[in-house]
Symmetry: D2
Subunit: 460 residues, 4 copies
């Protein structure tokens, strides 16, 4: 039998297998793992790893509010964002789909689905973000889950959160019952606003004060509260972009007590520390939560290794350098977020696997398998197995290169790791059997990406 | 020199001294500690302890809302309540003075001061309870502190708390700056309401479900949040009626990190466990938080011994048995609180000192010295020293007796320890040099109690 | 191409893949995963799981001392023990090879290798047990590692351990440097002996006192010390048969701090609690450490789920019921250990996967993949992938059966789970391409088992 | 009545009282606290504190081994040492009395009693140090306790400890039963020796490597083991000179679980950090354990404040600078210990009370009351009360001075705080009613010090 595509001679690595073999693809699917396979197209992967395509479930590729004159939003859309994804080895993204004022969750999803259908070059899922927990919105939850949207995002830091906390808990309960995973942005709004008022009173508004606006305690206590809300409602929770040792320790304790708590971190917290905010253009590093101390960085690495942090996602929320460094902004009004989709996997490989901090199997688990399970995509996504989508990355573990934001696909045009030396990168990306990136050139047609219907969240 | 009053021959015990000696009183004040003192009145304390009068800073002797037909409130007022206090060896009480709708904090204090001046037989302080954190109320805080009201109480469990959390944090900051201690009722309202909604949905409203309405997690996470709020605002906090090992552990960690966090427990959590709610008249035990498990009881005793719990106060919030057992009430509408002022010290002595769980010095610290320091009363109150108020209790460590609610001074008319065998009790209570209780008979004149002007909170 | 063997139509599950496909075997090796494969022999696995053969690295199939008249030892040898293994789905065992008085480590290994070569029906590795840390023994470590024996076992509880602790630390350092994993039996001998002396002084020697001879503190403190020794020497450690929440918590903290600490538990601690020792024939449950409380059981399950316990091995140390219940034995002289090899996987599947405590992927990880990695066997063992040994188990997830010790393959003749209802069991076991068990009947020829040369320990 | 001595007009502070009053002394005893007292001798204490004399239970004033030519030992004896004590406000010292080879505990005590009787100018107690846990030594324990020696010291770090650990546990059990407190030097000898071997192998023997010889883990794990031994034997334990956050956290957990564990720290760990060892004459700071990190210093201060560290004692083990800086010494052979008796109280007052880290009451508790209770001296020592020994210190809280080792009473001739600016100091020291220091000049006659018979340890 001649296959459509064969990736030949690489070391195929999943979270639980490692094999020197060929991967045979028919249509969009892996159909055979073996040796000496023949295909209409063959890709030479000798000396390289063949990994499952990355699954980055935390990106921002659609505007959270109706774009209006003067209101600036993230600079990538589904097109430029998923180009960056494929270039970086990520074949599935999860977009935060914000419910706007007066909108239902379904309305928001349909809006984003339309945009993604038009633009996306990688596959995608959407997380409805509950911004207005109205009765109508809560009532939609079971149906959305049944239709394959099995996640819900909430922001504890929102001004409106505390005043509507009862509705948010009802939403969590409904989500849990429907098999959804609740993603939680854990920063305590009251603490953050209190800190901001105090800094304003002291006229401390330069970027170097940014970490003070969102101290560790604001994250740690929000994590505790999210865990408590999960326990109270029976909802499994997924803590997004965890940044501190304190917050991690609290998740660890909850997990030791049997709670369904999962932890995502993002690249910023693995490579950079708060001293960055003292740099003249320190504003380019602002994200929420802020960069932390070296001890936090270490703790998160230990958590990745020990399995206490389950995923690394980009929280890609891109702005141009001009937007980030806008002199009108202050420590309390910064544009939060950075472009990180294209660098997500190479940086983690280089700083994690090459430097011996995590194993290759853990790398795969962190970037694909765990989130695929948690978000109901497994084993369609998140692994390389017979019957799984042929989302494959041929990875050159020896390639050395230098990060240059200007040459990447995000419209941000810069990287927070500008100039870093990296070892390892994807050389071919295959999405559902189609070669979509080769040697850095993304060849995917706009709109080829597909929404993925999801099953219920799986408990790890 | 002949003194006004001499307590002769007892073992005088404070948190840091122990002496077989006489205590000499002139007027309202201790003026000499020595031997062979002579007084116009002499009280024989041979074979007995002479202890500082108890300071119970957590009682409810005034109605929280305007009494109206059909609205029932606690059944003791400053008169019956302070009679119970003196009978039990407590010479100073701290009343929760609730700000009513439309009222300022000062207005509330004046209302209670008038009532206490008329009725109280023991000395007293008042804690303004911030129920409506208006700008006007917040603006009063510095002046109130300057006038000697150096504490502020907040209830995290209130329906309105989360929606006004920013104002509450501003209040805490103002209180901290003014030298006030912030007392915090730590139960997370969102978790409690969520649990109640769920129980109602399941028609689980019998008393035995009461603990489910306020699970440990609601207390633990509120304690974490109170600690975070203390850190964010710089306010020292005093966690009232802590009930669980989980919550205590969180305070312990905060203290280990140098936070100004103090912990009060109340008698209920030292002697009773949640099985009580399975009894036919289990409703008589309801307080907030509810009774917990045996492991919680043990943990709190360990905390008392190790010094991680700083005070034991009664949270005296009395209802008659008929009120408590009102069949119209359910698990989610129970009348919370029990009468415990008169039993506070004897029960702790019997179960704590006699049974070897805490030392006598710790007993004194827990019932008088620590709170006197924390609430700005020390050394006027909280010790026996030259110059201190002559608030003394002659304590018979051998007396054995049986708790009978009907024969105590609270109008509650019953005790949750009904029938318990107790060893040790006060046989004479002296308040500012005046013998106010002798052999169980309280002889104090209505209105003799006095408000105590306080200094700033002292950090232990 | 016609394969030697094809397992057809099952759901193939590894720690990181799940696929409905066939497994094709040529010779001893998996060579293809695909569909519609053809083989000389085909095994129908429809409706069943196809799992990697179990790897139980903790068994006792050789006598620790020279057998002499009157000295009784475990009742299984490599033959009966590995029969039990194959019957239970375990295709690789790790035997504890005790260095005897006057023997080198190599001598011990050669002795056991000879016995295993003669008798074993499953594959095996050997862990040299350092009983006499002589200079000669220590000097052998690098060479043994180079030859493929990449583990070393030490017993902290041994009488001689504390007096020779410096040599043991040197051994750990040498082992770590050589790429060996150090297995540690964590009970503090001083605490255990102290407890025994005290019980003897009180004439408390009935079986019900057995848990008192080895209290949780003896395990917890030994775990701390093993972790410290690991840190001091740079040696990764593997804590065998962890039994208590306290001990687990200490491992968790060490892992959070980045230490290379791995945790094994054994079945006893997942299903049974200390009340068993109050039964008339409670002695049949004795192992070291003893059974613990329900809260310990729960904590270990939580640890399995969260990934903080990395393996479940049997510690198969079989005695007949007559040996266990020998009336001459007392709480301080009990014969420790139970037969558990054949029940290891089915019990964990039934109590873990079927009851929803752990996922199927975790089950595979716990019984095969993690230990294969840790002990240098991966990916030869521990997964199903092209190039891996064809060690496969066809697992019927629906089969219901009842544990009957008498009908199992260990000479122990009884099971501590006698009469338990179990769901799930292996129906076919394949070892290196050979069907060695089918429908409960083990068909493997004595001596077919093979020693597996190992690489260095891999850090998870 | 005219008293022998009156200290007039000071602020008398104990752990639980504070009073502006006079202290009246008859003979050796406080007999009255009041105002306007008259005495044959009157000391003006206006504007000053009157505190209980310090109780420093951890000093080394006798040679541990038979002095021989070439064997150097600490440079103070009971005379110079207790001169330093009185000068610094310490009126009672506890000496470590080492059992020598072939000696019984009683023999050691008699030897030191003879020396102290001849030389001491302050009161003293002796702690027998169990260096040779022979049956004969163990058998003496009950009688020694009955005679008033209610403490026993053990060194976990000794070469011989691990090999004789069973005997040490028997000693602890006997001590606990006899009402003794067991003092434990917590460093794990195996870890320390392992670290030393490794450093020697790497030729890292300069002083800057000193901290590596005794890493935090060696202390932390020894603390865990001491706690476990306490639990196993029922013996209350007193951890001497705790130096690290890790070790403190373990004590805290043990106390939270109800264990009788008490913690002493010493001045070194409150004021200095490990960077000192990088100084050219860094060897002058060596003690065991070594100086730690800034985070450790902070943690211990937090522990002092929160009550989790119960005492601060000097561990006065003096050497001259020439001895300390002896070029023949290396990181693994350093002479451990520093002179700190005279600076103990002033430094803690200055750095603790004046800087607001601890309250004055806590200062008293830490330097006198807690150890007086723990070591069976209370209320004879450790407080100011009628009937207590008239051990008083008149303390000038404003005095500013500079540490100059050369002008102090220890023969060490230098201080590790050389040149530090200090606020607060004793201006008069009174021991059993006798003025023994005034304005810095010690006037006590050699041999006036008295051994204090002790009662059983009191559980705080």
């Amino acid at each position: 039998m001649t296959l459509d595509l064969v990736v030949k001679g690489g070391t195929v690595v999943t979270a639980g297998t490692q094999a020197d073999c060929d991967v045979g693809v028919a249509g969009e699917t892996v159909v055979v793992l073996g040796r000496d396979l023949r295909g209409w197209r063959e890709i030479d992967a000798r000396g390289r790893y063949v990994l499952p395509g990355g699954v980055d479930v935390h990106v921002h590729l659609s505007p959270p509010v109706e774009p209006k004159p003067g209101v600036e939003v993230w600079c990538d859309d589904f097109y430029s964002g998923t180009l960056a994804a494929l270039a970086g080895g990520v074949t599935t993204v999860g977009n935060m789909t914000f419910q706007r004022e007066g909108e239902t969750l379904r309305g928001a999803l349909e809006r984003d689905l339309a945009a993604a259908r038009r633009d996306a070059v990688a596959d995608y899922i959407l997380h409805p973000v509950l911004m207005h927990p109205t009765d109508a919105a809560l009532a939609e939850i079971p149906a959305l889950a049944a239709e394959g949207h099995t996640s819900l995002k909430i922001f504890m830091v929102l001004d409106g959160f505390d005043g509507q906390v009862d509705a948010y808990l009802d939403a969590m309960r409904a989500a849990g019952r429907a098999g959804m995973l609740t993603l939680v942005h854990c920063e305590d709004g009251a603490v953050v606003r209190c800190a901001c008022r105090e800094l304003l009173a002291q006229a401390r508004t330069a970027t170097r004060w940014y970490p003070e606006t969102r101290p560790v305690v604001s994250e740690a206590v929000a994590v505790e509260r999210a865990i408590a809300f999960g326990e109270a409602t029976g909802a499994p929770i997924y803590v997004v972009h965890l940044s501190s040792a304190e917050a991690l320790e609290r998740c660890r304790r909850a997990r030791a007590a049997g709670r369904a708590v999962y932890v995502e971190t993002r690249p910023l917290y693995l490579y950079l520390t708060r001293e960055r905010f003292d740099e003249p253009d320190g504003a380019k590093y602002t994200g929420a939560p802020p960069l932390r101390e070296h001890t936090d960085v270490q703790a998160i690495w230990h958590g990745l290794r020990a399995g206490e942090v389950q995923s690394v996602c980009s929280d890609h929320a891109p702005w141009t350098l001009a937007q980030k460094l806008d002199p009108a902004l202050t420590a309390t009004t910064t544009r939060q977020g950075v472009a990180d989709l294209e660098t997500l996997m190479p940086m983690l490989f280089s700083e994690g696997v090459v430097r011996g901090r995590i194993s290759l199997a853990r790398f795969v688990e962190l970037t694909t398998t765990n989130v695929a399970r948690l978000f109901g995509l497994y084993p369609t996504k998140g692994t390389i197995a017979v019957g799984s989508d042929a989302d494959l990355v041929v990875w050159d573990p020896q390639a050395r290169w230098t990060v240059r934001g200007a040459s990447m696909h995000s419209r941000a045009g810069y990287s927070v790791y500008e100039g870093w030396e990296v070892q390892g990168r994807p050389v071919v990306t295959i999405s559902r059997g189609q070669v979509v990136m080769e040697g850095g050139a993304v060849t995917a047609a706009r709109g080829r990406g597909r929404w993925v219907r999801r099953g219920p969240t799986e408990r790890l």
